[in-house]
């Protein structure tokens, strides 16, 4: 482990800080956490060999992806049995460009925030994992995901949600994800997200006329673990355009702050209405009786 003075001071600082605060609130977004892993996808280096697809299928016990380049002729999407796919588009100045599509493992995932049973969960180590034993199959994660990644096994009697796992079991053992490990051309680089982000920018600004000046995944949905750089528009590679930069859980947290306030405010408000209307009723009754005596 690289034990620099910076790291040491940081560890001391965090420990001291944690000691001061009795309870550290869990934060939905951890964009400033330097330990989170990421994968840099440099589409200018991808040769379309689809070894990543094959490695992924093997690592996740999925059927082997179709052989040959014929599949690259039309755009494909991930499915219940294919956690990652490579799509083809034209490169500027002739040739092919390829883009790998899979779960983005957002820093503040919409799917995990949507899941009412925490079957989809964001691990502090990075991957967004899925536990079918908790899943009740509401499919809200599919509604929430801005990248349309979760796939559902509608044909099964006990259907599961299927998506890239970021090879969480492999990462737990200190190994990189299968796709990144097998990539022969260096298109996929696994490492710390913040380091990869800086590498991505270094490449872009190193040859600024070549690349699009944007790292896809830096801000999308509040930031994702997979970062893309490209010299063709990202939508052409099958990546979702128009994804808001606000972390998705923040879209709901305001409205979800209301229920506890309703539970606090409604009883006094409603009982107040009740008391008021009861008093008015009694006042009317008294007035009526008085009239009866006088009339």
């Amino acid at each position: 482990m690289n034990f620099t003075r910076r790291n040491f001071l940081r560890i001391v600082g965090v420990t001291a800080g944690t000691g001061l605060v009795s309870a550290t609130p869990a934060r939905a977004s951890t964009t400033d956490d330097d330990t989170l892993p990421g994968v840099l996808v440099d589409t200018t280096r991808c040769v379309g060999c689809r070894a990543c697809e094959a490695a992924c299928a093997e690592a996740n016990d999925l059927p082997a992806p179709p052989d040959g380049d014929a599949v690259l002729k039309s755009p494909r999407d991930t499915s219940q049995t294919a956690f990652t796919v490579v799509n083809r588009t034209d490169a500027p100045g002739g040739g092919d460009r390829f883009g790998k599509k899979q779960c983005m493992h957002c820093l503040a995932p919409a799917c995990a925030s949507a899941c009412p049973v925490r079957a989809l969960d964001k691990k502090p180590t990075g991957p967004v994992t899925y536990d079918p034993s908790k899943c009740m199959g509401c499919r809200y994660c599919m509604v929430a995901c801005p990248f349309d990644i979760p796939r559902y096994e509608y044909e099964a009697l006990a259907p599961r949600v299927r998506k890239c796992t970021f090879c969480a079991p492999r990462q737990a053992k200190g190994l990189p994800p299968a796709c990144a490990e097998v990539c022969p051309s260096g298109a996929l680089t696994f490492g710390k997200r913040h380091v990869l982000l800086e590498e991505a920018k270094r490449r872009i600004y190193g040859t600024p006329e070549k690349f699009i000046h944007k790292v896809y995944g830096e801000h999308e949905a509040g930031g994702t673990s997979f970062l893309y750089i490209s010299d063709v528009p990202f939508e052409k590679l099958g990546l979702q355009g128009g994804v808001p930069e606000k972390p998705y859980p923040e879209l709901v947290s305001g409205a979800l702050g209301a229920p506890p306030m309703v539970m606090t405010l409604w009883p006094p408000l409603l009982m107040g209405l009740y008391a008021f209307s009861k008093r008015r009723e009694e006042a009317e009754k008294d007035a009526g009786e008085k009239e009866a005596h006088h009339g």
Partner: protein, 409 residues
């Protein structure tokens, strides 16, 4: 005659009197042969096997749900519409118990019964739609508390319990269990406060669900305030449903109400019409505000814009004006039609948000399968049949003289 026979039958007299409405089994079964029951039987004959098939063969075989459309008719209609149309329970309950509008007491119990049956049917629809319904208890065990759906799950559970407790008041009157009835009757005020509280929370949370879909829900419907819109439209739905339900109930059950003190449903309907006019009027402007706030007015000139205008102008503003005119001129029939239109408008809104204007950029649209339609219709039919069964026997539309309040109404 009949009384002599009940004596000889002894134990089964409870069954005869309470269940068979005093008829013999043969008589009762023959009385069931009505055109309405025939239609209901046909619907159930298609729908119930479809439901069984869904559990036997899976969602893929029985529905048209897809990767692009994870939510379809069962969520959009059974779950969302079922819940919103049952909002009459808390609106009328609050009006009577909290605002002191005792005049509405005669329609309070049918409204609560409608709500209770509505929620039970919504839960059944939900269980049909869930991929792994046996894991629904996980919502209690694993707190996915960042999710609006978690909050909905809990609130629906709590609210259905509250509705059940409120329903047991006439239920125990029917059975004649005085002591437990008295206890429950005393807790009605607390139950009403809870029902308004839980309803506010989950009716609005059903709107909050779509906050996580800013790119998928059409801009004319997507707004950060969608949870407020859902709550206000729930109030409108409650008022409108009670107008429709009370009109139907008092017509259908007229023969059973002979000899009971006359309930001036027309007068109550006029009162509800006034409320409906104001709420719908405000809701219409709320929807416009949502569009302006989202900078989405440009979309009004598109196809989806036309859909939005039909929903908002045709099924919110028009009913509002009809309510107003009908209430002013005491035209009860106009109010009832306006109520039906408002109900249709709310159904339309929920379907728009969850299905029709959802994934609006996807050229491939979702259309429910015939089995989905059959199951949804069957759930509505079962709900109506349950409502009728209970109203024919229990003091819902009338007061049980043994339990009548001396000073309250």
């Amino acid at each position: 005659m009949a009384s002599a026979r009940t004596e000889t039958l002894g134990q089964s007299s409870f069954f005869r009197d309470k269940i068979l409405l005093g008829m013999s089994l043969g008589e009762y079964l023959r009385s069931l042969l009505t055109p309405f029951n025939l239609v209901a039987a046909v619907i159930l004959a298609i729908g119930v096997p479809s439901l069984v098939y869904r559990f036997a063969a899976g969602l893929g075989a029985s529905t048209n749900l897809s990767q692009a459309y994870p939510w379809g008719l069962w969520i959009g209609f059974d779950m969302m519409t079922g819940v919103v149309l049952a909002a009459g329970g808390f609106t009328i309950g609050a009006s009577v118990q909290l605002l002191g509008l005792k005049d509405f007491h005669p329609i309070e119990r049918p409204a609560i019964l409608t709500a209770f049956i509505g929620y039970v049917m919504a839960v059944v629809g939900l269980l049909a739609d869930l991929g792994r319904p046996w894991n629904i208890v996980m919502a209690i065990v694993n707190a996915g508390s960042a999710s609006a759906l978690f909050e909905i799950a809990w609130c629906v559970m709590c609210y259905t319990t509250v509705l059940l407790l409120e329903f047991t008041v006439p239920f125990f009157e029917w059975l004649g269990w005085k002591r437990i009835h008295a206890i429950l009757k005393k807790s009605l005020l607390a139950l009403t406060v809870l029902s308004v509280m839980f309803s506010t929370m989950h009716q609005s949370a059903l709107g909050s669900l779509f906050l996580l879909a800013p790119t998928k829900l059409h801009p004319l419907w997507y707004t950060p305030f969608i949870f407020i819109f859902f709550f206000i439209s729930a109030i409108l739905a409650g008022i409108s449903m009670v107008i429709v339900e009370s009109a139907l109930s008092h017509k259908v059950f007229a023969h059973r109400l002979e000899g009971q003190p006359h309930v001036d449903v027309d007068k109550l309907t006029i009162g509800l019409g006034k409320a409906g006019a104001i709420v719908a009027f405000a809701y219409f402007f709320l929807k416009l505000q949502g569009v302006v706030d989202g900078h989405a007015w440009g979309y009004l000139l598109t196809g989806y814009g036309a859909l939005f205008l039909v929903e908002t102008v045709g099924f919110v503003l028009v009913p509002s004006l009809l309510f107003a005119w009908g209430a002013r001129h005491a035209k009860v029939k106009v109010i009832r039609w306006a109520g039906a239109m408002a109900v249709a408008g709310i159904v339309f809104n929920r379907l728009n948000v969850s299905v029709i204007a959802f994934n609006w950029q996807n050229p491939v649209r979702y259309v429910p399968s015939w089995m989905e339609v059959a199951v949804s219709l069957s759930l509505v039919t079962i709900g109506v049949l349950a409502f009728r069964w209970i109203c024919n026997r229990m003091p819902i539309l009338w007061e049980d003289p043994a339990f009548a309040d001396r000073h309250e109404d």
